[in-house]
Amino acid sequence: MGLIQREIEKQGIPTIGISIVRQYSEKVRPPRTVFLRWPFGHPLGEPFKTAQQRVVLAEALRALYVIQEPGAIIDLPYRWRREQYDDRDIQNILRVVPK
């Protein structure tokens, strides 16, 4: 995934990747990454848990504006299946995003 991300960024489009294997991201070094220690096949979480999926999506979009150092990885704090998600968190997560 990171190799594809790098090629898109090279062509002039900013990219953000969601990673579930931190060591791949460390080696391949895509420009911007949010990392979750979650199982394969679940980068946005569990089926039909829309608040969870929206929180991860918002975190990824936030990272686009927060990451200033090329190759940075943001470790997201969410534990697998041990968090409560609320749609009200979305505005807070995206608070830093410029209008």
Binding site: G2, T15, R29
Partner: protein, 171 residues
């Protein structure tokens, strides 16, 4: 189904259920260390940006040919996902991760309905009409094809579609 595919599917189920076993699987793939990092600054506000997804989760339309699961080095080709078509028309071909959950709700690997909600709420500008999908697990001789041919091809297509931001999701 041949024995290799059965084996890969079994391994993918086991490592999804028991993440501690995934460490060995992860260590078996050792990507080359990159030194430089490409960089394009983000200049457009999120609520005016058009966003596309590029996934390596093996998503494709049912009438598109599936990814090649017999080649041990994977498949560097891609599929164009057209959002003008119903989401029920999408499926996943990928033996290297357990997509039973993603088969129930594609948004956990390809969060297009969540992006549509963000668009409706005005959090993002637009969801792109076309998205792109690969099968992960591309190794060996297919890496040069990916890096020199298919990945730059979709990058140019995204440019032509006036996409401002690309979100990448794995399988």
């Amino acid at each position: 189904m041949n024995i290799d595919r059965l084996k890969n599917k079994l391994i993918s189920k086991v490592i999804t259920r028991f993440p501690s076993l995934a460490k060995r699987f992860i260590a078996s793939y050792d990507p080359r260390q990159s030194l430089d990092v490409p960089w394009t600054p983000v200049t457009r506000a999120l609520d005016r940006s058009t966003i596309a997804i590029v996934t390596t989760a093996g998503v494709h339309h049912k009438d598109q040919g599936p990814f090649d699961m017999k080649d041990r080095e994977g498949d560097p080709s891609y599929r164009v996902i057209d959002l003008g078509r119903p989401l029920s028309d999408l499926m996943i071909t990928h033996d290297y991760y357990d997509h039973a959950d993603a088969d129930k709700d594609i948004n956990i690997v390809f969060p297009v309905e969540r992006l549509r909600e963000f668009e409706k709420q005005g959090l993002i500008g637009h969801v792109a009409g076309r998205h792109y999908s690969f099968m992960g697990h591309i190794i060996g001789r297919h890496i040069p094809t990916l890096v020199n041919k298919t990945a730059p091809e979709i990058a140019r297509a995204l440019k032509n579609d006036h996409v401002d931001v690309v979100l990448l999701t794995p399988g």
